[in-house]
Structures are given as structure tokens and as C-alpha cells.
């Protein structure tokens, strides 16, 4: 996990239900405890009444402006509208004009509803936060961890800049998009983190995702295998238990858990062979909500010591 610490932007992605948000929250707590000034972000969704990231961090709400929830740890929702506004302010000659544009109902509604404009707004907002400096000239957020939406949408988000450049090859938008794309593709500043589960299909899907990420030239930094079940058996114990269960007899309690453990072993091996980045193993922890992310962050710290 230490390899992630120098990065400016960590993009956490994976299929729905793999625990992306918990991993993003745990990484944020871990990095903050390591002394980094961390900002952990989710994509704002005006329709959502709940926030998975807020639940994982144990905070009541996540706002469009960063606020500090623990020493060195801030949280923000990347709001498209703010990205649009910042962008217009950057490219238009007068602030007044940008603000007037954002106040105009038609323009606001167009930007909010027209496909890909919200995603561009999110990307620009991220760029804006990466660039934010403190008074002493140091960057405000040394590390920004983004909890990206499910697989397909994360890829779609990554696909937009290049696609947009074909439509708008020049001008301020193109310049901004290029800057965004440079950030996304710079292995020094950016790393994608793929989260998956220790089961057959999720691993296949994670490998597809890894391929997709590489196709978009976004540097992959780490893969996490989440909710790995505890394996109590030694090799000879396993062989014996298998021999007990393989005979002709009615299904037995315990066997399904054993199968799950076996699948996890296969998944780890398959993943380790297929990707060139470190594969982190995150144990299945029977906790919920904010306590889960805290526990996982401390497990990450313990692992660092062992390595």
C-alpha cells in the first residue's frame, strides 16, 4: 500500500458490491495516519439521498466543498456544477460572465442534463482540487482518493476526454480536457486501484476492467482482493476434510464455507499471475459502517510493518 502514498490522485474502481467505497475510506484513513494531507471524494449525485462514503466514514453528510473530518483527512463530493463554474471562470474574461452563465436557467439545465457534460464537470472539479494551493505554496491536498462509480461508468468516465477532444480539438475546453487527460494518464501523479472479490466471476470482471483501464492509458497502481475469508486449514487438514466431503452423502454444513475458501485461494493465484501490480489481500472483517473502514485501515498499517 506504500506504493500508493506518493500519488496525487488515486482512482478506486471495481464492480458494484465489491466494497469499493469501504476500500476508498480505509485507504484514506490509512494515508492520513501516515501523515498525508488526504482528500477523499465521491461523485456527487443530486438524486441520491444517501451516501455510501458518508456511511463508511461515519459522517452525517458530504458537501461540495471539502471539510475536515479527522486530522489530515477531508471529504468532498465532486459536483459537476462547481466544475462547470470553475471552468467558465478560468476561460471567460470576466467572472461576472461565468456567474451569469451559471445563473441562466437554460445553460444550467443544458449542462446538467446533456450527456457527458456532468462527467466533464466532475473531471474539471477534480483537476481544480488537485491544483489548489495553500498560502505557503504547498498543495492543499497531497492525495485525493476518488471513489468512482461501478465498473462500466468508471470506464465511461475515462473514455470521455479522448472522445471529447475529437469533437472539440481546440480552444479553452480542449486545453482543459488535455490537462485533465494528462493528469489521468500520468503514472507519477495518478494511479487506479481496482477492487474485487475472491470469486471466479468478479476476478474475470476485474481483469477485464484492468484491460480497459490500460486501454485508456490510465496507470494501474494496485489491485485489492476484498473480503477474503479466513482459512483455518493446513494443507494436510484440507486434504482430509476434502476426502470427508467428497463421498456420496447429503450436503453438509461447513462445506459451502470450505468451497468459498478454496475459490478465494484460486482467485488470489489467478489475479497475482495476471496483473503486473501488487495484489493486496483484505481479510473479511465482520464489522459494518465506519468501524469497518477503521479496522481495515489499521490492518493496512499492520501489513506495512510486516513488509
Amino acid at each position: 500500500m506504500k506504493s500508493l502514498l506518493p500519488l496525487r490522485a488515486v482512482l478506486v474502481t471495481g464492480k458494484g458490491g465489491v466494497g469499493k467505497t469501504t476500500v476508498a475510506a480505509s485507504l484514506a484513513r490509512f494515508a492520513a495516519q501516515c501523515g498525508k494531507r488526504v482528500l477523499v471524494a465521491e461523485i456527487a449525485d443530486e438524486d441520491a439521498t444517501t451516501s455510501a462514503l458518508a456511511d463508511a466514514l461515519g459522517v452525517a453528510k458530504i458537501t461540495d466543498e471539502p471539510w475536515e473530518i479527522a486530522p489530515n483527512l477531508r471529504v468532498v463530493a465532486l459536483a459537476p456544477a462547481l466544475g462547470h463554474q470553475r471552468f467558465l471562470r478560468d476561460v471567460l474574461p470576466m467572472k461576472v460572465l461565468a456567474d451569469a452563465a451559471m445563473r441562466a436557467g437554460a445553460i444550467r439545465r443544458f449542462l446538467a442534463a446533456a450527456p457527458t457534460f456532468p462527467e466533464m464537470g466532475v473531471l474539471y472539479r477534480l483537476l481544480d482540487l488537485v491544483r489548489t494551493k495553500r498560502r505557503d505554496g504547498a498543495v492543499e491536498h497531497e492525495m485525493i482518493i476518488v471513489d468512482l462509480p461501478a465498473t462500466g461508468h468508471a470506464l465511461a468516465l475515462a473514455q470521455i476526454p479522448a472522445s471529447l477532444l475529437r469533437v472539440i480539438p481546440s480552444g479553452p475546453i480542449a486545453a482543459a480536457v488535455r490537462e485533465g487527460l494528462e493528469l489521468l494518464q500520468d503514472p507519477v501523479r495518478t494511479g487506479a486501484v481496482v477492487v474485487t472479490l475472491p470469486e471466479t466471476l468478479p476476478v474475470s470482471e476485474a481483469l477485464e476492467l484492468v484491460q480497459g483501464i490500460e486501454q485508456h492509458s490510465i496507470p494501474l497502481a494496485q489491485v485489492f482482493l476484498n473480503r477474503v475469508p479466513f482459512d483455518p486449514f493446513s494443507d494436510e487438514e484440507r486434504v482430509f476434510v476434502r476426502s470427508l466431503l467428497d463421498g456420496e452423502r447429503p450436503p453438509m454444513l461447513g462445506a459451502r464455507t470450505l468451497e468459498r475458501i478454496d475459490r478465494a485461494r484460486v482467485a488470489l493465484e489467478r489475479l497475482s499471475q495476471a496483473v503486473s501490480v501488487p495484489v493486496g489481500v483484505l481479510q473479511d472483517v465482520w464489522l459494518e459502517g465506519p468501524r469497518l473502514a477503521e479496522e481495515m485501515a489499521s490492518l493496512m498499517a499492520v501489513e506495512e510493518v510486516h513488509q
Binding site: K15, G16, G17, V18, A48, T50, D55, F87, L88, V91, L92, L97, A101, A104, G105, A106, I107, R109, A113, P115, T116, P118, E119, P149, A150, T151, G152, H153, L155, A156, Q159, I160, S163, L164, V167, I168, G171, P172, I173, E199, T200, L201, E205, P232, E237, R238, F240, V241, L244, L245, R249, P250, P251, M252, L253, G254, R256, T257, R263, E288
Partner: protein
């Protein structure tokens, strides 16, 4: 999943009762499966489609999830331009009657969009003008956002063209699935003439009021400055070419909404016992009920609740000569079994809660007067359903399972 393995529990037919899903796959025209990611939604949608085909109906399973799982499970080509049939010989093997059909399609925004343009644009010159527009090409290839716009469109045209008795829709993970429900509203917001009018060039028989003109000037200044002149021109061309079609698109959006609100549609929420998935399902149930859409019940997936006929490791008696590591191994297996007993109890409690919730909120359950509710559990199929035989087993379990 081979049926010879001891873990594949099929309840004996004597025990089996039809579940709430049985009448749905027999009578509905649209079934929407929704829920959090990773709960087996795609697989459930495919299994419901197969159950419908087994009941002799012509069925389409439509997924807007970009993940490529459905095609794998059903053995159909991915990225096809139209729904692809599951081969007849496979269906026959699974016991699907001759008039039952099963097609599957991974929705392609590009194709749906183009079909829509062809239907609404009228003359070929206009079709070509739209298809050649750079902005159109950009939008139609982008997946983010477009899926939701096109899913509603595809669902409507495919369920009304008469080729299918039932369309099962597998939605993307919850947050985006909500966007799908909101898509018709959002689409009409985007397509509102008052918004579009601001961007259209003056003239061409269109008169703009002073207020609109002021907004137009602002929009032109802002967009020309920000995007460059070429883009603004493209945008105007695009909206101009589309402007005659907006009425038709809006009418469609409303028709989709009417279909989804009617008693020909059913919303089924898929969840796992994970707290996060349950929270999403609860959130979704509220939203669906609020929107006046026909919520029918829950499918509790990845559940450990079903333990009928299972033995326990404590029944195993080792010979006196057994070695120490064998005794230790058996003891450890016993601990895993205890964990499963705990999970089974937790999931049975959960099932009872979901049934109560479904009975309270499901329109169908209220109408039928079956106070028993509508949530069912599928046995914890080890791993994932990976082929049609496994899917068929799941299909049978979904519509006919004695509810533990």
C-alpha cells in the same frame, strides 16, 4: 454447475410451492430487476427470462449494465446489434417448449439511438445529416449517461413491437438505475424547447422574444468562448436537426412512463444479506413506491437460509485410529458449520422481515390479498452460475421453491 454435485440442492417437487415470481413470469409484459451492484441482479434477470421461456413465452432479457456477464451465462455473442437468440437446441435441452423463446441483448446506445433517429427523422437526408454530425457521433458512442436515455427508449420499442411477450430488464447498479427511472423526465428537461430554443440560431421562421434573445446571446458568448466557434456551430446544427424530433421523443418518454406504471409491469428488487445491499434495496423500494411504480417483492440472493436436508460434521465419527490432524480438521469444519448455522438463522430472520415489508408495499400482494409477502430466498449456489444448466436450476428455484 453440474447437477451431480452434492451441494446443488433441488427441493423435491412435493415440497415446492409457486413463489410470487411465478405469476409474474407468466403474465407481465415488463419485469424490471433492480438493486445494488454485486447481488446477482444480472443472473436473476436471466433466470427470470428463462423461467418465462420455460412457461412457453417469447422472452427478451435486456441488460444495460456494461459488464459482460449475461452473454457469458447464456452463451450468446456480445456486442451484437440486435437481440440474439439462445440457440434452439439448448432451449430444447433445458425443457423449453417449442413456442417458448429466449433472446438476450446487451443494450448498445449507438444502435438504439440510430434506430430512434431513423424512426423519427422522416426523410433520409435528415437521417444522414444527424448521423454525420460530429456531436451526434460523440454522444452516441459515449456510454456514461446515454445508457439511461436509451434504455427507456429500447425497453419501450422492444416491449411494444409485438415480438416478445415479456421483456426482463436488468438495470445497472442502484444509483444509475435511478437515473434510468428519471431518464424520461431528464430527457424532456433537456429537450424542452425553451432550453433548446436558446441555442438554436434565430430565423428559420422562429421568432425569439427579448428575454430568450438575451439568453441566446449569453449562451453564444459563453459557448463560443469556452468551446470554440466550430463546436457552437455543431451544437446548433445538432439541435436544429433534432428539433423536429423532440415531440416524438417526449411522447415516447411519457409512454415508457405509462407502461412502467401500469399493471403490465413489475419491479423486483434483488438483494444479498449484506447490510449495504439491503440499505440500497430499502432506498430503492421507497423510491419505486413513491413514483407509483408496481413494486412486487424481493429476491434474497446469496443467502444461506436454505439448509433443509443438510447434515452436520458432528455426525461424522472418526475411527479410533484417526490421526491428530484429522481430528483437528474435523473440529475446524465444525466451526465453519457453526458459522453457517449462524448465517442461516440471520438470513431466515431477514427473509421474514423482507416478506413483511413486501406485503406492506407491494401493490400486487395487496390486490391478491396474500398477506404472506413476496420475498423468497434462493439457495446459496456455491460460486456463480456459469452456464445455462445452472441458470435453469436457478430459474426453477426462483419460481418454485419451498420457502425454507
Amino acid at each position: 454447475m453440474s447437477s451431480s454435485r452434492p451441494l446443488d440442492v433441488r427441493p423435491s417437487l412435493a415440497d415446492a410451492q409457486p413463489t410470487f415470481l411465478e405469476p409474474l413470469v407468466r403474465s407481465k409484459r415488463v419485469i424490471v430487476c433492480a438493486g445494488a451492484g454485486g447481488v446477482g441482479k444480472t443472473t436473476t434477470a436471466a433466470a427470470l427470462g428463462l423461467a418465462s421461456a420455460l412457461a412457453g413465452r417469447r422472452t427478451l432479457v435486456l441488460t444495460i449494465d456494461p459488464a459482460r456477464r449475461l452473454a457469458e451465462a447464456m452463451g450468446i455473442p456480445e456486442a451484437s446489434r440486435a437481440p440474439a437468440p439462445v440457440p434452439r437446441e439448448k432451449l430444447t435441452m433445458l425443457g423449453v417448449p417449442v413456442h417458448g423463446e429466449l433472446d438476450a441483448w446487451m443494450l448498445s446506445p449507438e444502435v438504439v439511438f440510430e434506430t430512434m433517429v431513423r424512426r423519427l427523422a422522416g426523410d433520409e437526408a435528415r437521417v444522414q445529416a444527424i448521423l454525420a454530425n460530429r456531436l451526434y457521433q460523440h454522444l452516441s458512442k459515449i456510454v456514461a449517461g446515454m445508457q439511461e436515455y436509451t434504455a427507456a427508449e429500447a425497453l419501450y420499442s422492444l416491449s411494444t413491437e409485438g415480438k416478445y411477450d415479456l421483456v426482463v430488464l436488468d438495470t445497472p447498479p442502484s444509483r444509475n438505475a435511478l437515473a434510468f427511472l428519471e431518464a424520461p423526465r431528464k430527457l424532456s428537461m433537456f429537450l424542452d424547447e425553451r432550453v433548446i430554443g436558446v441555442f438554436l440560431p434565430a430565423g428559420g421562421g422562429q421568432k425569439k422574444g427579448a428575454f430568450v434573445r438575451a439568453a441566446s446571446d449569453l449562451a453564444e458568448r459563453v459557448f463560443t468562448k469556452a468551446f470554440g466557434e466550430g463546436f457552437y456551430k455543431d451544437l446548433q446544427d445538432f439541435l436544429g436537426a433534432f428539433s423536429g424530433m423532440f415531440g416524438g421523443m417526449r411522447a415516447h418518454a411519457e409512454a415508457v412512463r405509462r407502461l412502467l406504471s401500469s399493471d403490465e409491469a413489475a419491479f423486483v428488487l434483488v438483494t444479498s444479506p449484506e447490510p449495504a445491499a439491503l440499505a440500497e434495496a430499502g432506498f430503492f423500494q421507497e423510491k419505486i413506491t413513491q413514483l407509483g411504480l408496481p413494486f412486487e417483492g424481493y429476491v434474497l440472493n446469496r443467502s444461506w437460509a436454505y439448509t433443509r436436508g443438510f447434515g452436520g460434521p458432528e455426525e461424522i465419527v472418526l475411527p479410533p485410529a484417526a490421526e491428530e490432524h484429522q481430528r483437528v480438521a474435523l473440529r475446524k469444519l465444525g466451526q465453519l458449520a457453526d458459522g453457517e448455522r449462524w448465517r442461516a438463522q440471520r438470513d431466515r430472520d431477514l427473509l421474514a422481515r423482507l416478506r413483511m415489508d413486501a406485503a406492506r408495499h407491494s401493490l400486487g400482494a395487496a390486490a391478491r390479498g396474500d398477506g404472506g409477502g413476496a420475498a423468497i430466498a434462493t439457495p446459496h449456489l456455491g460460486g456463480a452460475v456459469e452456464d445455462l444448466a445452472g441458470l435453469a436450476e436457478l430459474a426453477r428455484n426462483l419460481v418454485h421453491l419451498d420457502n425454507a
